[in-house]
Every structure is written in structure tokens, then in C-alpha cells.
């Protein structure tokens, strides 16, 4: 899909050995997913099991550590602030905070698709005004019991029957398509 723009460039310049945005998005997602998995299973779980420190939403005032979801939010913010242009965020059809709901129609549909078929990431070229972006949405599944218990019990959570392995939302990776 993205290739439509690349050949244009190739016509004027010698074709560079490029990486397709799909690949870039896959790589990025692998890293983001791995980081969060390490944090969730190797750090938070162990810390809580051994009674060292708890992970909770209001971690700043309670001497705790951030939740895995917050971990992703913070790292996403740092990536955005780095100015590289690449962005990712965590979205859901059942967000605890509205700001984490799907922002576009594509995101909504992608989430619905992932809910039915978690293994196939949803990809699309989207635009805001004149700007174009490549977006890929990857399923975000419940990999830890703490994910489920938190979302099933949070007062602002609109869905409370999550089970292990359920698709709880998705990771949206946005790559600008600019010169």
C-alpha cells in the first residue's frame, strides 16, 4: 500500500534499499511489547509477589511503582518528546480514561478486527489535514492476572469481565510519511 509512494521516489533517484513502514512498525512493536512484557512479568509481578513494592495507579503519592499500562504511556510520551516523529499509544474500546479511546474511525475498526483476530495487525495510511501517516495497530492481550483484576475492578472501567488472554486493546504505532 505504501509502495505507491515509494516508486515515485525511485523514478527520480536510484532506488535505495529501504525498509517498508510495515516492517518498521513490526520492529517497533516487538520492542515496545518486549519492554512492557519484561516490566510486567519480570519486575512488577516479582516485586509484588515478594512484597517489595506494589504497582498502583497513584504510585507517586503511595510509594509504589507505575502500572504496566502507565509504563507504556510514559515511554510513549518520552518517545514523542524525543522529536523523532514516531509515536505509539495504547488504546482500547473499553478505556478507563476517555483519552485512551480510539481517536479515529480506523482505530475503532482496527480494534474490532483485532478483537476477532488478534494475530493480524491492522495497517492503514491515514491523514490529518495535509499530513499523511502510516498506522499499524497490534492486539494487546491480557498477559498478567494483574491486568485483568485491575481493569475488572477499576471504578471507571466500562468492561469488567476480562479473562486471561483476552484482547484488551491495541498498540497504535504512527509513522509520519513525509519527505
Amino acid at each position: 500500500m505504501l509502495s505507491s509512494s515509494l516508486p515515485l521516489k525511485a523514478a527520480t533517484d536510484p532506488p535505495p534499499r529501504g525498509i517498508s513502514p510495515e516492517k518498521v512498525a513490526d520492529y517497533l512493536h516487538a520492542i515496545v511489547e518486549a519492554d512492557r512484557k519484561v516490566y510486567t512479568t519480570q519486575i512488577v509481578k516479582r516485586m509484588q509477589e515478594q512484597g517489595v513494592v506494589l504497582a498502583r495507579e497513584d504510585w507517586e503519592s503511595k510509594n509504589a511503582i507505575p502500572l504496566p499500562a502507565q509504563f507504556l504511556h510514559y515511554s510513549s510520551k518520552i518517545v514523542a518528546e524525543s522529536g523523532s516523529g514516531i509515536r505509539f499509544r495504547l488504546i482500547s474500546l473499553w478505556p478507563i480514561y476517555l483519552r485512551n479511546g480510539p481517536a479515529t474511525e480506523f482505530e475503532r475498526k482496527a480494534l474490532e478486527q483485532l478483537n476477532a483476530n488478534p494475530d493480524v495487525p491492522q495497517r492503514e495510511i491515514v491523514s490529518t489535514g495535509k499530513k499523511q501517516f502510516f498506522q499499524a495497530v497490534y492486539a494487546d492481550q491480557a498477559i498478567s492476572s494483574s491486568c485483568i483484576t485491575c481493569h475488572n475492578s477499576h471504578p471507571l472501567s466500562p468492561k469488567r469481565d476480562f479473562k486471561m488472554g483476552d484482547v484488551m486493546g491495541g498498540v497504535v504505532i504512527t509513522i509520519p510519511l513525509e519527505d
Binding site: E60, S61, R89, A103, T104, T128, G129, T174
Partner: protein, 823 residues
Amino acid sequence: MEAAKVSTKSEKRKKGLTRKLVLSMLLVGALPLVIGLLLAFFQGTQEIREVSGTSFEALATETARKLDLVVADELSRTALLAINTHIIQLLETRRDALSEVKKNALAPLLQQENEAWTNKDSDLLSKISEGPIVQELLRHVGGTYLDAGFPVPVITRSTTRSLYLTDSAGRLVASLDDKAPYLNAGENWWKGAFHNGVGQPYIGPIQFDAQYQTYTFTLALPIMDSLRYEAIGVLRRIYDAKEFFAPSIDIIRFGKTGHVMLIDSRGVVLSCPILPTGTSLSDHTLIPLVTPMHPGWTPAPGDGHGGQATSIIGFAPLSNTSRITQSSNELSWHMFVWQSSEELFGPIQHFFKWTAAFGLLGVGLLVTLGYLAAHRIAAPIRQLQEAARRIGHGEFQEPILLSTGDEIEELAEEVNRMNQQLASQFAGLESQVELKTQEVKYLQESTTQILDSVPDPVIMIGPQEQIEYLNQASKEALVPNNGKVAGTSLFQLFQLDPPTQEKLRREIRLVQSSVLTTPTDAKPDQPIKKLHDPLSPTSLDHSGGDRRELRLNQRTYRYRWFAIPAPPGKEPGIGLVLRDITEESLLQDQLIQGEKMASLGVLSAGIGHELNNPLVGVIGLGEAIQDETDPEHIKEYARGIVQHGKRMASVVRDFTGQVGKQFSEAKTLVNINEQLERTLTAVQAVFPSSPVEVNTRLAPLPPLPAKSFELGQAFTNVITNAFQAMKDGGTLEIATAVLNNEIHITIRDTGKGIEPIHLPKVFDPFFTTKGQGEGSGLGLTVAHRIVTKLGGQIRLDSEKNHGTVCLIILPITSNKPMEHKEA
């Protein structure tokens, strides 16, 4: 002076018991009261502090949560504008338009537009303050139209001072009024919310806004593009801080002064029912105590409102809001719950004051009652004490009558019993003492009389030689004109030369130490024990040298010391017994002299007799020579004369040898056997025709230090007696032997013997059974004296008509003290 002191001291003591009792009652009653009161006060204060602290903390936490929700609610409601699709589309268009503008053309363009805005350019003004976007804003703030789905609370409407929108370059896009600045990209709130295109909510610090004449704070939200990829504008909303928070904070009041307050971490008040918004807490040390990122409470030295009293402050952070404010401007917002300490601790202080007042009253009562009670207890004790004092002084008194019905009454009974017993015992004791006193007096008198009747002076002196007693004899003999001498020194009474005084003092010291012994060369006849018998008849002592004799007032005294046992605790006194031996010694001297002459007479009679026979022969031979012619006969007679002359010469030599030694005083080593033989020869010469057979058995004897003449005189007297007793013949046996380190001399005759009744008197002076001219009656006396002087003994045993044995025992070493064997 002393007496006064003593009396005040006893006065003090009298008060002492009462005071002690009152004091102990106070200690027992009041001290625990005071301690308990103080403990209760401090414990109560502590608990109030604890309880208030935790309640304040809870209240602060709750209020903080509530305000957090208010802020979050405001944020999310304002966010509705930020996701408004019209606004996003408009801003996306403006962003794309801006991206068309060349970089160096942007600044002049912005400048130009800003000037137009400042000059109230009508096109620009209408473009910004009118149109559909402004309508959206107005709808939101609630000017004329309210979205049915999103009712906007009155608070938000009235507290919003300003609301406007900027694009990605910070230019003003839409505003509710014309007071908003046109270019905002340099403002903190804009940069904070835009966040280099990433976009994040911003809540600004409270500050005074000159435009609105009030303290305001800014809420700025980024407008994200439709993908939420980047910020394309910023929405700013300015709130009147006081009005925004007051509805949530001012209603929370408890007690008269209890309230909550919202401050930021600089200590600036955002909202407080008492302090005006925008003021800083006066006590800066308080700020770090109450602005940690967790809820809690603390006793603070100040109250944050200018007071100095210790107060309890509860605090809690607005954690969600603070997350935003901290990322915006590193400030955090905190709730602060406070109540004035007067009110907080008022009840317990009130309680304490009342309890203290009642406690004081109680102490007063305790002292009064305690004094009365103590007086009741102390009075009978004082009575008892008085009684005991009088008993102690020996004043027996009436029984003490106490009816306190307790131990004191028992004590009084005991004292009465004791008093009675003492009284009865004293009665018996007194008569006994009287009896004993009489006995003592009688003893004293009789002793005095006995001592006074003793003819010898007896003197008693104390340890310091002072005279304590003189008997009658000593007064008469030693004290001239009945002068007083008691208490004066012994040596004031005795006028003695210094060496003699020294000698006496030495003896006194010896007696005092109870080891006085007789001088070594004196007759060792008196053991120390016998010193206590000053009138012992054996005290006749004529031994020479260190004899105990004194010359006082031209008289000679023999003396003897004796120790007087002292009552316990006193130094023993010393007694001195004197015997006037002036006449006695004179008589003795004359006696001895007479005896010498008598023995000389016997001797000269013997010598005369001895010389007479040869003299008669000489005369007869001389007469015969006168008539004789025959020369042969003359020669024969002359030879006879020479023989007789030689015999006479030998007699004379013997005689002179005897007499020459008579007056020699020196002691020499005497051979007893030789002395006996010499004496025998001399006596035999006196009794030339005596039909006495003489047997001598002389054992070898050691020489004895003695005066040979004296010894000879003693032997002469004994042997003469033997010869005189055997006028009709008999046997004289003289034997010597050494037995038990003594020389035994036995002189035995077979003469007429001595009548048993005369036997005890034989050593008495002038006792004799001999006829006139035969004896002086001094022979055995002198012999006895001489032998005893040498430390020996002389014994006489006799049987009528069978003879007499005289045994003379002389110690071989007269230097050694002799065992004195009584016959």
C-alpha cells in the same frame, strides 16, 4: 546561750512529728494527685493531639480527593472543547496553512497580525470574537446555550474569567473577549500545553491578574490533530482561583476555627476561608512539614495563620492535580486542615484548670485535717516523751492515763509497767546501796584504824606520786606540826638527795608495772607476792649494799613498796611501808661489837691458858737453871725453855692470825674444811684438858665467797657449845658434804642436849642455859645471822642427855636465788 539553743532544738523536735505526719499525708495524698493530674493532662493532650491529627489527616485526604475530582472534572469537561471536530479541522487547516508560509516570512506576518489586533482591527476582531468557534466556546462556558448532554455547572461558568484558543504558532484563533493577547507562543502556559507538539495538560500557578483584578490560575489544554498525533493548538482557560475553590473549601468548617485550606508547595494560599487568596504562609518552616507527597499530620510550632501556639495540622496532596502541576511548573497542591490550639486543647485545659483548683482545695483540706490528725497523734506521744524524760531523771510520777485505743495506749501502759518495775527495783536497790555504803564506810574506818594503830608509817600514793593517805604513825613521824600533805608529791614530804629520789622513782615504776623484784644481790627471800604483806616479820634485813633503807629526819627507815589494786579504769596506787630501825640497827651494831669482844675474851682466855702452861714451864726451868750448876742440866733446861718459847710463839702467831682477820671486811673465797679445822684447833686450845674425842669426816668442798672471820665465828660458837655440853666427855663429829648444790655442815655432839622447851629459843639473843661467865647468850644468834646472811640456814636438833646436832646449809652459788627450804 547553750540552754536557749537546746530549748529551741527540742521545740523544733516537738514540732517535727506533726510536721512529718502532715508532710507524709501530703506526700501520700497530694503527690499522687498532682502526678496523676499532670499525667492525665499530658496523656489527654497527647491523645487529643493523636485523635485530632488522624482526623485532620483524614479530612485533608478526603478534601484533597474531592478537589482532585473537581479539577479532573473541570479538565475533562474542558477537554470536550479540545476534541471538538470543528475546532480540530480549523486548527488543522491553520497548521497546514502555516506550513506553506516560508520561514523568514512568518515573523513579519505574526507581527503584522498582532499590530492589527492591538489596534482593534475590526476584521480581525470580528474574525476572532465571532463565528462558529466562538459560539462553541460560548456554548461551553454557558453564556446562552447549554448542551443538553453536558450541563455545565454554574460554578464553572461564573468562575471562568477568560477562554480562548490559539493555533500551533500561538496566534489567537478565537476568544470570548478582546482582552486576550494575540501572540502566545512565548507564554509559559502555551509552551507547557503545546509541549513541542506532543501536547499535555497544563495547570498554571496562582498569580495576580491585573486585567481581572483578582488571583487567577490557568488551565491550558493542547488541541491534538484528528489522529492525536500532534498538538495543533492550545485552549486556555483562566479561572478566578478563589471563586473556583471556595465552594468546595469554604463550606468545610468545624468548631469555631477549624477549616481546610488549599495551598501550593510554595506556601501560597489558593483558597482559605480565613486568609485571602494569594498570601503566603507566614511561617516558612511550616511549609516543608505540610507539603510532602503523602497525607499525614504533624504538630507544628506555628499554625500557618500567624499564631505561635503549637497546633495540629493535617495535610494531604491533591495527587492527580499535582501530577499535572508538577509537570507544568514543578509545584504541587496540598490540602491543609487546621484548628486553633486554643480550641483544640481548650477543653482539656479547662478540665485541667478545674481539676487543679479542686486539687488545691483538696490539698488545703488535707493539710488542715492532716494537721489536726497529726496533732491528735503527736499529743499523747509528747505526753509519753515527757513521762519518759521524768523517769529518766529519776522522778517517779503518777501513771500516764491515755485512752487513744491504739498502740500509743499500749505504749503508755508499757511505760507505766516499766515505771512501776523501776520504782520497786530502785527501792530495793537503795537499801542495798545504803547497806553497802555503810559496809564500805565501816571497812574504811576499820582499815584506817588498823593502819593508824600500826606503829610503822604507811603511806599511799597515787600514780603521779601524790600522797593520798598517811596513817597516824607516818603523820607523827614525818609531818611536822600536823601540816597538810594530802595531794602533795611524795618527794615534797621526803627531803632526799637526787640519786635516792631517782632510785625510789625507779622502784615505783617497777611496782606500777607489777614486776618489782628485790635487788639481785639482796637476800632473795621474798617473792613478789609477799610484797602485799608489808608487816611480814621476816622483813628484818641487814644485808649490805643495796638495802632498802632510807635516812629521813635523822632516822633510819627500812621500807617496802606494795601495789594497791585500783578500781576498774583507774591506775593502781602504790603503798609504802616504813619501819624505823634506828634503834634496832644501833642495838645490832652494839650487839655484834659486844659479841666480838666476848669471843675475843674467850679467845684470849684460851690463849692465856695456852700460854700459861709453857710459861709455867719456862719459869720452872728458869728457876732450875738458877740453882743448877751442872752445865749439862742447864743446857737441857735451856732447850726446854726454847721448846716452850717456840710453843708460845706459835700460839701467839695463831692468835694474831685470827685477830688480824677479824676486822677485815672483804669477802674472800673460803675453804670451809680448812676454816672448820682452824676453828676446831682454836677451840680445842680453849678446852685443853677436855676428854672429848673428835671425829672429822670432811668431803672435798668448793670454795665459798664469804668473810672467813665471820664464818669462823659462827663455827666457833657452835663448836664451843658442843665442847661446853660435853664437859664429862663425849664424841664430837664434824662432817661436810655437798648435796643439791649446797654445802651441808653437820656438827654433832653427844653432850647433855637441850631441853625441848628451850629449843625454839636457842637463836634468840641473850638466851642461854649456861652458867655465869660461860656464855653471853649471843653465840647462836650471831651464828644464825651470819649463816642467813650468806643465804644459808642453820638448824638445831637435840635430845635431852643424848646430844645435839647442828646442821648448817650454805648455798654454793650465793649469786643465785635460793630455794628456801623450811625445816
